[in-house]
Symmetry: C4
């Protein structure tokens, strides 16, 4: 079932290691088949060294296992919440990458202060509020999905393909699993550069028109970057 998607999701999980975004089992990637509404996701706590494409787990849009001999990632309820809320996304990634996680721990949006950021995100990368005690002690991973979705009221998830969850870490998404991993790597790099930039100049400025220019150079009908 969904053999090609399993292969894609498996490969995207390994790419997290290749890009230096995860150590041990600290990350997970999923991909969705929008026709059937089925999601393929990494199994929970399985080492990247021994994992195979066959270990990927198939779940429905409410996280129920449809196929697979292993338990899906414990973050599965967050992934499926995002697929239900954001209709255009095809892949979701969660990591504990160093700089993006540090901004999450700091509880601050990653400000859009450069063209690198603007090439991929039309605005700051938002940080969610912290979860309440009730949310944490209830359906925690599903509630994590909800605070992300709530944070995006009035924001366009297709133009801001990632978020940081307070005291936790980054989630990103994209048109497929590969694209979501790409955005996870972008988030880590812009998080690092924003950290350094504010250390150099806490009073730095960024013009809105430059953000807009770079974002639309790569996105939408007027895009002219690439082939």
């Amino acid at each position: 079932m969904l053999e090609q998607l399993k292969e894609e999701v498996f490969k995207a999980n390994l790419d997290l290691v290749k890009h230096g975004l995860v150590i041990f089992t600290w990350g997970n990637v999923s991909g969705i088949d929008r026709e059937t509404g089925l999601v393929v996701i990494k199994p929970s706590g399985v080492s990247y060294d021994t994992m195979t494409a066959d270990d990927m787990v198939v779940v429905d849009l409410f996280g129920k296992v449809v196929e697979g001999k292993l338990k899906p990632s414990s973050d599965t309820p967050t992934h499926v919440a995002l697929y239900r809320a954001f209709p255009n996304i095809g892949g979701v990634v969660h990591t504990h990458s160093t700089y993006a996680t540090s901004w999450a721990q700091a509880g601050k949006d990653i400000p859009n202060i450069g063209t690198t950021h603007s090439d991929y995100f039309s605005a700051a990368i938002p940080c969610t509020r912290g979860l309440t005690q009730q949310e944490v002690e209830g359906e925690y991973e599903a509630e994590t999905g909800k605070v992300i979705i709530t944070r995006f009221y009035g924001l366009n998830p297709d133009y801001i393909p990632g978020v940081i969850v307070k005291n936790h870490g980054p989630f990103s998404w994209g048109k497929d699993a590969h694209d979501a991993v790409h955005n996870a790597a972008v988030m880590e790099q812009v998080a690092k550069m924003a950290y350094i930039s504010f250390n150099i100049n806490p009073e730095l400025t960024m013009d809105k028109h430059l953000v807009k220019k770079h974002f639309y150079r790569k996105h939408g009908p007027g895009a002219y970057y690439g082939q």
Copy 2:
């Protein structure tokens, strides 16, 4: 004698290099056989490049050499003090890894400010007091063990599997040598992220209920992470 444990401890020592936690001979790993009370530990000042499993030294719980042609690590008295005081641990690691050592030099506990930390440690990673002149000039390495054990009065070493010794560096432990190395790598990563996070926001906050949730998601009877 204890050939399998020697192999495990040898491999765990090499893993310190693989994880980027040591350069030169700046680290050591030991493992204990609880049935016999014998400890296998790295020899002192031997290069990781030329070391073999056979070079591992067997000592008793008071650090006396039982087997081995080389001198055991100069930190042996610290290792055995921890094995005597913490009955559930099976492996001990000492490194001078960059960020954990920097917190030790700063003389400050590494605060628990994120879920990455909470997944492994139920609270801050404690920093010991400095050793007195008398302690330093006496049985220094044994005294180092004692200040660690003193620091853990009222703390659970099974829930807080590591410590930083003031002006020195990190010690970690685990159910075996491999697990202790894993915790050493976790300490280094959370030390790095805590450093960056406080640079971004010195006023950051972390909720106790989130710490608890993540710790018990991976530990104890209600754990549901992994297979």
Copy 3:
């Protein structure tokens, strides 16, 4: 056409990856044949993994494609503006390397505070002003070239082989594509060390005579470094 230059420019693009200056397609190198006035440049948005020397695009000094099956880098108008304004340069590089980009985002010149910097640059690495809304919404990439050239009024581009564009990132140049990449790597390294140095001592000082000594040890008629 210009097969040797294509090979050089292709190799110089790959060297950006080797030096850790770019991830994904975040950089581009060009080289000029001064006899014909033709410029060879990386195609836009093509992965370094699959790119070949044949994919390089030949444009004239106004960015018009002369040969090549792919679209040239979207930064082509900036490259050709620099070739027209700075008659001695033979190669141009643009990257989003971490520390140089962070100084650009901070909107500050990278001060010349050490002999490493002075070995290559006779003064600070200048940061341009931000582009106006009109410039950004007009011929953006050509305007980027203009603000760089304007910034160099009174400065010698042969003695200061690089610049950072506000909120964007570094451009560097040199006698050929290889040399421009070398200068890009130098900029990243001195940007990193300047960041750390000012964190250690915000009041640090540097003597003009030391800058002069190191620069002229490697440049001009009195140079005595190297073979």
Copy 4:
């Protein structure tokens, strides 16, 4: 002539790259044969990729070339000044390694704040004064040697095997070329950890008795570290 020493010095130069202490040609190692008073040193500005043991240059204690087809390192007068002044050293290294150079640019001694530092240096790593305009414009590299030697009045170069030259970078030494490289790597690592530690806690403290203990655990008649 001195084939074995050439091989050692050549290998030690390559080790600078292996330890991540130099890029391009930004470093040099020498070694001395104390019987003949001849020094073997890296040639100036030659790439580490193409260099062979045969390219090493033999000079006398005043820097005059005795054998070799290439020009010796431009820093040769600094190296020989150190060999003349410090009778016990057998190897000298100069690099522009990131953190040690940043402390040099900041113009501050690297304080001894941990046991990692104390294992190798009995005190802070001193920073020289800046050279005067006259010194810089005169026999610059020889004068660099003189300010280092002046900085060591009252200090023991055998117990403090390195220095940072203001606005320039680190020099280290040791019993031979290999040992000098080892100390260069130690300096870089302790420079990095001191930087991070003071960022965490500008008010940190270190006890003199701990410095002494660690230094003499590895040095002198009472040493008990290693085999």
